[in-house]
């Protein structure tokens, strides 16, 4: 008991001593601290200390951006949730008083939702895997010390710098039924012609192919950075063990690319969730059956059919999906000290 008490006293004294010492270096305040009675000094120095703390000093730098971003991102998500509980549709003001979960029940009974969610998952998984594999091939090719390596990198990454709306125009032309290059190419092998953007069984894969064309350069850049970070003696050691090129990559190099793979796939999944622009540019409000995803369905319900509250509930579903991907990733990054 006594020990604890003493500890508290010493701790309090330490606390008083700390700032006093600091203050003695700048003359004026010391005199103030000496004349005033004990308690006042404590509160004043505490205030002083609070103001001097890095938290307060750094606040003017991070608070304004944080407020702006926080309002538009987290404030808007909260607002979106609130709207999803109302029955807002059509024109007029939102009635925030009568709240219910009706929209979420409606989602469960909407046959389109199941189909659209399925398409979303197929798109996410196939697109992400394809980008990871193609990007890896590109990165390994460019890592073989070829001439004009940066030039080739620039070419492979070029589609990534273009807008979805622009690339959608190119691919509509590529997939054109009568004269498109894709049908000409498969025609050379005696196949087709196929209706790439019309056949419900094909459309999603056509979209995935075009998106892989656009985004594989991105994964390549991520891998290249990771490959460059691997020390060269590991290549040499593998060579000395008599491993062939393929074996060397498979056994030694690729396992070390795992962190790059994880962070690239998180970003790719989120790109795929945003693939709305591409689909809108090709089909407008209503994508062909088979290529309808959650993002397009949400925008259509809200901004075309004016079922705002229902659209908001789909948006929240989409948000929860992406949260399920981001949260483990961020937690893992935090555990590894990468944040």
């Amino acid at each position: 008991m006594k020990r604890i008490f003493r500890q508290i006293v010493t701790r309090l004294r330490d606390r008083q001593d700390g700032p006093d010492e600091a203050i003695q270096t700048d003359g004026g305040v010391t005199a103030d601290g000496v004349t005033a009675d004990g308690t006042e000094t404590v509160t004043r120095t505490r205030l002083r200390r609070f103001i001097d703390s890095e938290f307060v000093q750094s606040a003017p730098f991070w608070v304004p951006p944080f407020v702006l971003m926080g309002f538009f991102v987290y404030g808007a998500i909260g607002w979106n949730f609130w709207i999803s509980l109302t029955d807002y549709s059509g024109f007029g003001a939102i009635d925030y008083t009568s709240l219910s979960l009706d929209n979420y029940w409606a989602m469960l009974n909407d046959p389109q939702i199941i189909e659209v969610t399925q398409n979303t998952f197929v798109l996410l998984v196939a697109f992400t895997l394809a980008c990871l594999v193609v990007g890896l091939l590109l990165a390994i090719l460019l890592d073989r010390k070829i001439r004009f390596g940066t030039g080739f990198r620039t070419i492979y990454l070029l589609p990534f710098s273009l807008s979805f709306i622009v690339t959608a125009q190119f691919w509509m032309w590529m997939y054109n039924f009568e004269v498109g290059i894709v049908n000409r190419t498969v025609g050379a092998f005696g196949l087709g012609p196929y209706s790439w953007l019309g056949d419900p069984g094909l459309v999603l894969w056509s979209v995935i192919f075009a998106l892989v064309w656009q985004f594989s350069g991105y994964t390549m850049v991520i891998y290249l950075a990771a490959l460059r970070a691997i020390p060269t003696d590991q290549y040499e050691a593998a060579r000395a063990d008599g491993a062939g090129t393929l074996k060397m990559y498979w056994r030694v190099i690729i396992p070390q690319l795992k962190p790059a793979m994880v962070s690239a796939s998180v970003v790719l999944v989120l790109f795929a969730l945003k693939a709305f622009d591409f689909l809108y540019a090709i089909w407008g409000w209503r994508p062909r059956r088979g290529a309808d995803i959650l993002a397009t369905k949400m925008v259509r319900e809200a901004f075309q059919r004016q079922e705002w509250a229902y659209g908001a509930s789909i948006a929240l579903f989409l948000f929860v999906l992406s949260l399920a991907i981001i949260t483990p990733y961020l937690y893992q990054q935090y555990r590894q000290g990468n944040l």
């Binding site: 890095e54 998500i77 004269v179 901004f303």
Partner: protein, 306 residues
């Protein structure tokens, strides 16, 4: 000559042969991929110069002959898109600059000052990158169109020279793009600031420099290369953005319509899509980003690599 030397020569030659074969295979793979990545763009480019007849009669990747060549589609596309290009520049440039300033400030306050809980605040910034925009667009349109309604509120401004009603929408777009750009830019700057030594900050503090002074005198000059990366990356991102344009501007015929919004509805007619016109439009609207990309490819690749 003895047999042994011939043998050595032989193995050396076959080895060299194998190396050469490998090099040939490597380069042909790389070049085949160049064809794959460029063909949609190349065929778009040649098609944009073709007359409707040449489109029907020539292969999509073959350049038009003299009689099938026309600049008409480019002229038409340019006249349709020039207002949109101007509008896009009008909101892309200010929001790029604002994003860079805010992002650098936030990264500084969150990285080079130490306080409890900063990791949590930073995590909120990171998560902000990954938010699907669908989750915010309904409140966003509600906020700008019903709650703020800049066009009515700033009504006194529109009589002034150089200002017009459409600038209300442009302002809304500037604020929106800035807000949603801050997270990624903060993360980019933080990656750089983390590598800066903490001792440097301590030394500046001991010399009695305030945080603001340290920022201006030490940190800002050191961040110039990162500012270049951020400018290039954010410029392309905001220029290419479509969903916010669709939600905030709404109509293709709005005087504030951005270039991506106009392109999405270009050349649509009942008798089908005018492909040469669309291709010309695609190139015109991609031109600023293409120029930036080709000139600063390295910086762009650096911005991608978060």
């Amino acid at each position: 000559m003895s047999e042994a030397t011939i043998d050595v020569d032989e193995t050396e030659r076959s080895l060299r042969e194998r190396v050469r074969l490998r090099t040939v295979a490597l380069y042909s793979a790389v070049l085949a991929l160049v064809v794959f990545y460029m063909i949609p763009i190349q065929s778009g480019l040649v098609t944009s110069f073709k007359t409707s007849r040449a489109v029907r009669e020539t292969a999509p990747f073959v350049p038009p002959g003299l009689e099938g060549f026309t600049l008409g589609k480019w002229e038409f596309a340019f006249s349709a898109l020039s207002d949109g290009m101007f509008n896009s520049l009008l909101f892309t440039i200010p929001s790029t600059i604002l994003c860079a300033i805010f992002g650098s400030m936030a990264a500084y306050g969150l990285t080079l000052a130490k306080w409890r809980g900063q990791i949590f605040v930073f995590a909120l910034f990171i998560a902000g990158i990954f938010i699907p925009y669908q989750a915010v667009i309904i409140p966003l349109s509600e906020f700008w169109n019903v709650w703020v309604d800049l066009e009515a509120r700033l009504g006194f401004l529109w009589g002034l020279p150089l200002l017009a009603r459409k600038h209300a929408t442009i302002m809304e777009l500037i604020v929106t793009h800035t807000a949603y750009g801050i997270p990624i830019v903060t993360v980019l700057f933080r990656a750089q600031y983390k590598s800066m030594s903490r001792e440097m900050m301590e030394a500046a503090k001991l010399d009695g420099a305030s945080m603001w002074r340290t920022y201006r005198r030490i940190i800002l000059p050191l961040s110039v290369p990162m500012f270049a990366v951020v400018f290039i990356f954010q410029f392309t991102q905001i220029w290419n953005e479509f969903l916010f344009s669709l939600i905030i501007i709404q109509s293709v015929s709005d005087p504030a319509a951005s270039v991506t919004l106009i392109l999405s509805g270009l050349g649509e007619a009942l008798e089908g899509v005018d492909f040469p016109l669309r291709m010309a439009g695609a190139f015109i609207s991609a031109l600023p980003t293409l120029i930036v990309y080709v000139l600063f490819a390295d910086k762009f690749a650096e911005g991608v690599r978060v």
